[in-house]
C-alpha cells in the first residue's frame, strides 16, 4: 500500500528538480499563510459575500487585475529563468526539458493569462463608467467569464508541480504536441487550461459588444463615444470571430490525443499543417485583440494630459476597424517558409503590410493631439510617450518581417523574438500599465505614487532596450529561438549576457511597481474630487471610488468629451441643467453559481488530464446542476431605494 502511494506520488508530482521543490515549498507555505490569515481575521464569509459571488463589474475588474498581475509575476520569473540559462554559453542551470517547459508556459501565460485578463480587467473597470451605464449587459455572464478564466489559469498553472508542464511551444504545433511525441499530461493541461479560459474570453467579447451597443447613455451616438470604448468594441468583435477557431482547434487536438483520431497526426491521413493554419487564424488576430485596447488607452491619455481634443477622431475609429478586419487576412505570414509558393506568399506579405498604414496613421494622430497642447508628464503620460518610439521601431521591424523573401532569413530567429516583444511590451504592456495608473484613482479612490511610478517606467524602458536590441542582432547572427544553450564558438555570448541584464532590469521595474502599489496603499493620496487628472469623459463625473450603482442619475450626452465641455461651460458661468429626481436603481443580485460552475469545469479538466473519468463525470454533473439551478432562480435582482442612494452620494460628495 505504502509503496503504491509512493509510486503514484512520484508520477503525480514533478520531482527531481531543486527549483521545483523550492516552488512546492513556496506554494505550500503561501496556502497555509492565506488560510491562517483568513481564518484568524474571520474573513471567509466576507470573501464569499463580497468577492467570490459578486456580479459588480468593478469588483470583477479588480479581481482580473490582481490575477493578471500574479500571472505577470509567474511569467516574468519564467522569463528570468530563461535569460539566466542563456546568459552564458553551455550553462546547465536548467535541463533541456525544464527549459522547454518554461518557454512554453512563459508564452501561454503572458498572452492568455496576463495580457488577456489585464485587458478584460480594464474593460470591466472602465467601459460601463465611460459610456454612462450602471453595469455590463450580462452581469451574471461576466462573473462566469471571470471564474472560467481563473480556474482555467489555475489548471494550467498547477501543471508545473503536478504532472509536468507542456513543453511544445506556446502554440503547440502537432505532430510534436500529439500523443506520439508528447505522451505526458503537460499537453492536456495546456488544452484544458486554455479551453476553459478561452470560453470565458469569448463570452466577455459578446458581453462587451452588447454593453457598448445597447447600454450607452442617452445621446451618446457611436461617433460620440470615447476612443477607449471604441477600441474595446473593435477588440471584442475580433474576439468573437477568432476565439471559436481556437476552441475547435484545441478540441480537435484533444480528440486526436484522447480518442486516437487523426486530424493532425503524422500517420492515418492526419495533416499537421491544418492545425498550423487554424491556430494562426486565431493567433494572429489574437495579438491585435490585445493591442487594440492599448490604442484606445493611449488616445484617452494623450488627450487628457495634453488638455486638448483627440486629433482625427474619425480617422482613429476607421483605423481601429480596419485593423480588426485586416488582422484576419494575415495568418499565413507565420509560415512563409513552408513552401506554399510565391503567389500565396505575395498575398499574405501585402495584406500584412497594409496593417502598417492605419497603425501609422494613429501614431500621427497622437502626435498631433500633443501638437499645440499643454503636455503634463504624469506617469500615465510617461508610459504613453515611452510607447511611441518603441512601437514605431517595433512596427518597422514588423514590416521588415512581412517582406516574405527576407522573412526566410528572419523567421524563427531572435530577430522575430525581438520584434514581437517590442510590440507586445512596448505596446500592450506599456499601454496597460498606463491605463492602470490612469484609472487607479477612479477604481480605488487614491492615486499611485508618482515618484515610484516614474522609477518603474525608467527601469522597464531602459531594461527593455538593453534586453531586446541585442536580440535583433543575435537573430542576424543566426541564433534561433527556443535553443536552450549554445556553444562558446558561436560568438553569441556577449550579446546574450547584455540581454539577460536587460531582462533583470525589467524585473526590477516590476518590483518598483509592486512597491509603488504597497507604498500608495500605506500613504494614501486620496482622490476627493473624482476627477484627479482633469479628465474629459463620463467616468470622471462620479465620485472615486465609484458607488455600486455607478451613476445616481444616468447622464445625458450631447457631444464628445462631454465632461470636458461641461466643465468649459461651467467656467463660462453657464448653469448646468437641473438634475432629474432620483429613482430606485435596479441592480443584479450576487450569485455563487459562476464560481461553483467554473470550479466544476476545473474538476472536469483535471479529470480528463489524468484520464480519471471518476473525477470528470461528477464534474460534468456539477456543471449541469449549476445550469439548472440558475435557470430556476427567479430572484436575480433587487432595487436600491432612493434614501440609500442619497446617503451614499452625500457621503461620497461630502468629502469634497
Amino acid at each position: 500500500m505504502w509503496d503504491n502511494i509512493k509510486e503514484f506520488a512520484s508520477e503525480f508530482f514533478v520531482t527531481g528538480d531543486p527549483l521545483i521543490y523550492g516552488a512546492d515549498v513556496a506554494i505550500g507555505l503561501s496556502i497555509v499563510a492565506i488560510v491562517f490569515v483568513m481564518t484568524y481575521f474571520k474573513k471567509w464569509t466576507w470573501l464569499w459575500r463580497e468577492w467570490l459571488t459578486t456580479v459588480d463589474h468593478k469588483r470583477i475588474g479588480i479581481m482580473y487585475v490582481i490575477a493578471s498581475l500574479l500571472m505577470l509575476f509567474r511569467g516574468g520569473v519564467d522569463a528570468l529563468l530563461m535569460r539566466t540559462q542563456l546568459a552564458m554559453p553551455e550553462l546547465e542551470f536548467l535541463s533541456p526539458e525544464h527549459y522547454n517547459g518554461i518557454f512554453t508556459t512563459h508564452g501561454v501565460i503572458m498572452i492568455l493569462f496576463m495580457a488577456m485578463p489585464l485587458m478584460f480587467g480594464l474593460f470591466n473597470l472602465v467601459v460601463p463608467l465611460q459610456i454612462g451605464a450602471r453595469d455590463v449587459a450580462f452581469p451574471f455572464l461576466n462573473s462566469l467569464s471571470f471564474w472560467l478564466f481563473f480556474w482555467g489559469a489555475m489548471l494550467f498553472n498547477v501543471s508545473f508541480v503536478i504532472g509536468g508542464s507542456p513543453d511544445t511551444g506556446w502554440l503547440a504545433y502537432p505532430p510534436l504536441s500529439g500523443i506520439q511525441f508528447s505522451p505526458g499530461v503537460g499537453q492536456d493541461f495546456y488544452i484544458w487550461g486554455i479551453q476553459i479560459s478561452g470560453i470565458g474570453s469569448l463570452m466577455t467579447g459578446i458581453n462587451f459588444i452588447v454593453t457598448i451597443l445597447k447600454m450607452r447613455a442617452p445621446g451618446m451616438k457611436l461617433m460620440k463615444m470615447p476612443m477607449f470604448s471604441w477600441s474595446v468594441l473593435s477588440s471584442s468583435l475580433t474576439i468573437i470571430l477568432a476565439f471559436p477557431i481556437l476552441t475547435i482547434t484545441l478540441a480537435l487536438l484533444f480528440i486526436d490525443r484522447y480518442l486516437g483520431a487523426h486530424f493532425f497526426t503524422l500517420d492515418g491521413g492526419g495533416n499537421p499543417m491544418m492545425y498550423i493554419n487554424l491556430i494562426w487564424m486565431w493567433g494572429h488576430p489574437e495579438v491585435y485583440i490585445v493591442i487594440l485596447p492599448a490604442f484606445g488607452i493611449f488616445s484617452e491619455i494623450v488627450a487628457t494630459f495634453s488638455k486638448k481634443r483627440l486629433f482625427g477622431y474619425k480617422s482613429m475609429v476607421f483605423a481601429l476597424m480596419a485593423i480588426s478586419v485586416t488582422s484576419f487576412f494575415t495568418w499565413a505570414h507565420h509560415f512563409f517558409t513552408m513552401g506554399s509558393g510565391a503567389n500565396v506568399n505575395v498575398f499574405f506579405a501585402i495584406s500584412t503590410m497594409i496593417i502598417a498604414i492605419p497603425t501609422g496613421v494613429k501614431v500621427f494622430n497622437w502626435l498631433f493631439t500633443m501638437f499645440r497642447g499643454k503636455i503634463t508628464i504624469k506617469t500615465p503620460m510617461l508610459w504613453t510617450i515611452g510607447f511611441i518610439p518603441c512601437f514605431v521601431v517595433g512596427g518597422m521591424t514588423g514590416v521588415m518581417l512581412s517582406v516574405a523573401p527576407a522573412d526566410f532569413q528572419f523567421h524563427n530567429s531572435y530577430f522575430l523574438i525581438a520584434h514581437f516583444h517590442q510590440v507586445l511590451i512596448g505596446g500592450v504592456a506599456f499601454g496597460y500599465f498606463a491605463a492602470l495608473s490612469y484609472w487607479w484613482p477612479k477604481v480605488f479612490g487614491f492615486k499611485l505614487n508618482e515618484r515610484l511610478g516614474k522609477w518603474a517606467f525608467w527601469m522597464w524602458g531602459i531594461g527593455f532596450y538593453v534586453c531586446f536590441m541585442p536580440q535583433y542582432v543575435l537573430g542576424l547572427m543566426g541564433m534561433t529561438r527556443r535553443v536552450n544553450t549554445y556553444s562558446w564558438d558561436s560568438g553569441w555570448w556577449e550579446l546574450n549576457l547584455v540581454s539577460t541584464i536587460g531582462g533583470f532590469l525589467m524585473g526590477i521595474g516590476f518590483l518598483f511597481q509592486v512597491w509603488q502599489i504597497l507604498h500608495s496603499i500605506k500613504h494614501m493620496e486620496r482622490d476627493t474630487t473624482g476627477d484627479p487628472w482633469d479628465g474629459r469623459t463620463l467616468e470622471w463625473t462620479i465620485p472615486s471610488p465609484a458607488p455600486a450603482y455607478n451613476f445616481a442619475v444616468i447622464p445625458h450626452v450631447n457631444e464628445r468629451d462631454s465632461f470636458w465641455e461641461e466643465k468649459q461651460r461651467r467656467e463660462r458661468g453657464l448653469v448646468p441643467d437641473p438634475q432629474p429626481e432620483l429613482e430606485p436603481i435596479h441592480m443584479p443580485k450576487n450569485s455563487g453559481i459562476p464560481f461553483i460552475k467554473s470550479f466544476c469545469w476545473f474538476v472536469v479538466g483535471f479529470g480528463f488530464v489524468f484520464d480519471w473519468l471518476w473525477m470528470s463525470i461528477p464534474g460534468v454533473i456539477g456543471i449541469i446542476a449549476c445550469m439548472l439551478a440558475h435557470s430556476f432562480n427567479y430572484k436575480t435582482d433587487y432595487y436600491i431605494p432612493v434614501e440609500e442612494i442619497k446617503r451614499t452620494e452625500a457621503a461620497a460628495r461630502g468629502s469634497i
Partner: protein
C-alpha cells in the same frame, strides 16, 4: 525616376550598412552572405530597412520635438489650441505617406518573392548537385543520391555549383537554415520540399534547425562546408573507401530519438528518401497528392 529611386535606396542602404556594421565583425552572418540567394536577401533587407527608415526617422524626430516644445511650463511660448481636432489636408498627407511607402515595399517584395522562390532552379551553367535532407529527432541526415553516400550533421558540396536540396522530415517538423547561403525552409513529413542554394566561395558555414522540434532541438546544428570541386570529389572517394554502408536497419537506428556526432556513410538504401516521404502519405491527404506528383517527377528525372 527609377534611377533616382535606385540611387536613393543605395544611399540609404549604405547608411544603414555603416550603422549596422560599424564596429561589428563578420559575426552578423545574415549580412555577410556567401551565396547568390543570401546576397539578394541581404539587398532586400537593406532596401526595406531604408524605405522604413524614410518614414520612421521623421516620426521619431517629430515625437521628440513635439513633446519637448509643448510640455507644460509657466513660461512656455508655444501655442495652445485646445479645440483644434481636425485638418483634412494634414490627415490626407499622413494617410498618403504610409500608403506610398507600403506600395514601394510591396513592389519590391513582389519582385523578390518571385525571383527568390526557393523551388525555382538557379540559372547557372553547371548542373545542380542533389542533396536530400531529412530532419530526424534530433539530427540531420544528408543523402547524396548521385554520389551514393550519406552524412549526419555535416554537409559538404562544391562551391559555385547550384545545390538542389530536397527536404523532408521523419520526425516533428523542423526548418533547414544555412544563413550565409540563403533563407530557411521547413522540413515536413509526407512532403518533399525543394530549396535551391549556391555557395560563391569556399568556407565553413553555420547550419541549423530553426523550428523547435523537442528536447534536444538545440543540438541540431551542423557545418555546411563549401569546397572546390576536386576537394569535394576526393571527400566523396574517401567516404566510399572508409565509411560503412547505410542500411535500412542502420537508418531505423539512426531515426530513434537522440543526438548524434558527425557520421559518414557509403552507399544508400534504395529510394530511402522517397520511401520516407511516402511513408506518411495517404490517399485522403491533400498534402500527399502533391507529394505523389513530386516523387513521380523525381523518378522521371532520376
Amino acid at each position: 525616376m527609377k534611377r533616382g529611386f535606385r540611387r536613393l535606396t543605395t544611399l540609404l542602404s549604405l547608411g544603414v550598412m555603416t550603422l549596422l556594421l560599424s564596429g561589428c565583425s563578420n559575426d552578423i552572418i545574415v549580412l555577410n552572405p556567401k551565396g547568390e540567394i543570401a546576397k539578394h536577401q541581404m539587398d532586400l533587407i537593406y532596401i526595406t530597412t531604408g524605405l522604413c527608415l524614410l518614414i520612421i526617422l521623421p516620426v521619431l524626430i517629430l515625437t521628440f520635438f513635439i513633446v519637448w516644445r509643448y510640455r507644460n511650463r509657466p513660461d512656455s511660448k508655444a501655442k495652445y489650441k485646445p479645440e483644434w481636432e481636425h485638418n483634412t489636408k494634414l490627415e490626407v498627407v499622413w494617410w498618403t505617406i504610409p500608403v506610398i511607402i507600403i506600395i514601394l515595399i510591396g513592389i519590391v517584395t513582389v519582385q523578390y518573392t518571385y525571383k527568390l522562390e526557393p523551388s525555382k532552379p538557379l540559372e547557372h551553367e553547371a548542373d545542380p548537385i542533389v542533396i536530400q535532407v531529412t530532419s530526424l529527432d534530433w539530427k540531420w541526415l544528408f543523402q547524396y543520391p548521385d554520389q551514393d553516400i550519406a552524412t549526419v550533421n555535416y554537409v559538404q558540396f562544391p562551391e559555385d555549383v547550384p545545390i538542389r536540396f530536397e527536404l523532408t522530415s521523419d520526425a516533428p517538423m523542423n526548418s533547414f537554415w544555412i544563413p550565409q547561403l540563403g533563407g530557411q525552409i521547413y522540413t515536413m513529413s509526407g512532403m518533399a520540399m525543394t530549396l535551391h542554394l549556391i555557395a560563391d566561395e569556399p568556407g565553413e558555414y553555420l547550419g541549423s534547425g530553426a523550428n523547435f522540434s523537442g528536447k534536444d532541438f538545440a543540438k541540431m546544428q551542423f557545418v555546411a562546408n563549401a569546397t572546390s570541386q576536386e576537394e569535394f570529389d576526393q571527400w566523396v572517394e574517401q567516404i566510399k573507401a572508409t565509411s560503412p554502408e547505410l542500411t535500412d536497419e542502420g537508418y531505423q537506428a539512426l531515426a530513434e530519438p537522440g543526438v548524434s556526432e558527425k557520421v559518414t556513410y557509403s552507399g544508400l538504401p534504395e529510394n530511402l528518401f522517397e520511401r520516407t516521404v511516402a511513408k506518411y502519405g495517404s490517399k485522403h491527404n491533400h498534402g500527399s497528392v502533391e507529394h505523389d506528383e513530386q516523387t513521380h517527377d523525381e523518378q522521371e528525372r532520376g
